[in-house]
């Protein structure tokens, strides 16, 4: 038998919460991006589980789109990280809050 869909959803929810806690708690931008990846993976897992539940390929197609979005997000975000490290000599996001005022 397939794992019950409720359990997959609970697992995805726990993974999403771990990612959200990481985004809120950590102040290093690398770790924030890493937590975002975990959150995206949790969403992808929900899509795959739903596709498996109804036996349709649409879930996997959504997963592929998430993959493309994650890849482009990481590329741009890491470019920003490199610029941040060059300009501010730190990876602390609180040090870059110049736009506040």
């Amino acid at each position: 038998m397939m794992p019950p869909i409720e359990h997959v959803l609970v697992l995805a929810l726990m993974l999403f919460c771990i990612g959200a806690v990481g985004v809120l708690v950590r102040r290093n931008i690398i770790f924030i991006l890493l937590s975002l990846e975990f959150m995206m993976n949790a969403c992808a897992m929900v899509f795959i589980a739903a596709g498996a539940k109804w036996g349709q390929p649409d879930g996997q197609i959504m997963f592929m789109l998430i993959l493309a979005i994650a890849a482009s997000e990481v590329a741009v975000a890491l470019g920003i990280v490199i610029q941040m490290a060059r300009r501010f000599r730190t990876l602390d996001v609180d040090a870059v809050s110049e736009l506040r005022e």
Binding site: L11, L15, R26, I69, A75, G79, L91
Partner: protein, 176 residues
């Protein structure tokens, strides 16, 4: 029943390595834990009957995206007493926990192979890559085009942000 045991083992590995990944202080250690978590998620995709998504998860996420992260982390750490850092990376306490978690995943794969059941623990209906491909290039062809445009925009954006003279110009302004 076997699929359930495999699912809970892989789920445990996902949660444990995700928690360990976001609590590390060293970014490269966190990335190792992240690889383990992503591989475990790929195992779950296999168990849910999506082998193509699982393969993509390993190739693109655990392969390309984490390597991109690692490149940046190593680029930023450059010059900071890299020899002692390398030596610190090789102590036993650092690699045991990720190895144990990866060993659980290895046991899952071994169990699936040795059980002689070549559906490898997937029950229910397996959605074959052929079906996915047909849907992708008929019903969702516009989404494919949009994903292509998005990737092109990301390529241009990453190239622009990664250029060196953006920071040089600012430093010149500050010194003048």
């Amino acid at each position: 029943m076997t699929a359930l045991i495999l699912f809970y083992a892989a789920g445990f590995v996902v949660l444990a390595s995700a928690v360990l990944a976001i609590t590390r202080t060293n970014a490269s250690h966190a990335l190792i834990y992240m690889v383990v978590a992503l591989l475990a998620i790929a195992v779950i995709f296999f168990l849910l009957g999506s082998p193509f998504a699982a393969a993509l998860q390993i190739v693109v996420y655990a392969g390309a995206i984490v390597v991109l992260f690692l490149f940046v982390v190593m680029m930023l750490n450059l010059g900071k007493s890299s020899v002692s850092r390398e030596r610190a990376l090789l102590t036993r306490g650092i690699w045991t926990v990720p190895s144990l978690l990866a060993l659980v995943l290895f046991a899952v794969v071994l169990f699936a192979l040795l059980s002689g059941d070549h559906e490898a623990g997937t029950q229910g209906r397996m959605i074959a890559p052929k079906e996915v491909g047909i849907a992708l290039y008929t019903k969702y062809v516009l989404a494919v085009e949009l994903a292509g445009v998005l990737l092109l925009a990301a390529l241009v954006g990453a190239y622009h942000l990664g250029r060196r003279y953006l920071s040089d110009r600012r430093e010149e302004e500050e010194s003048s």
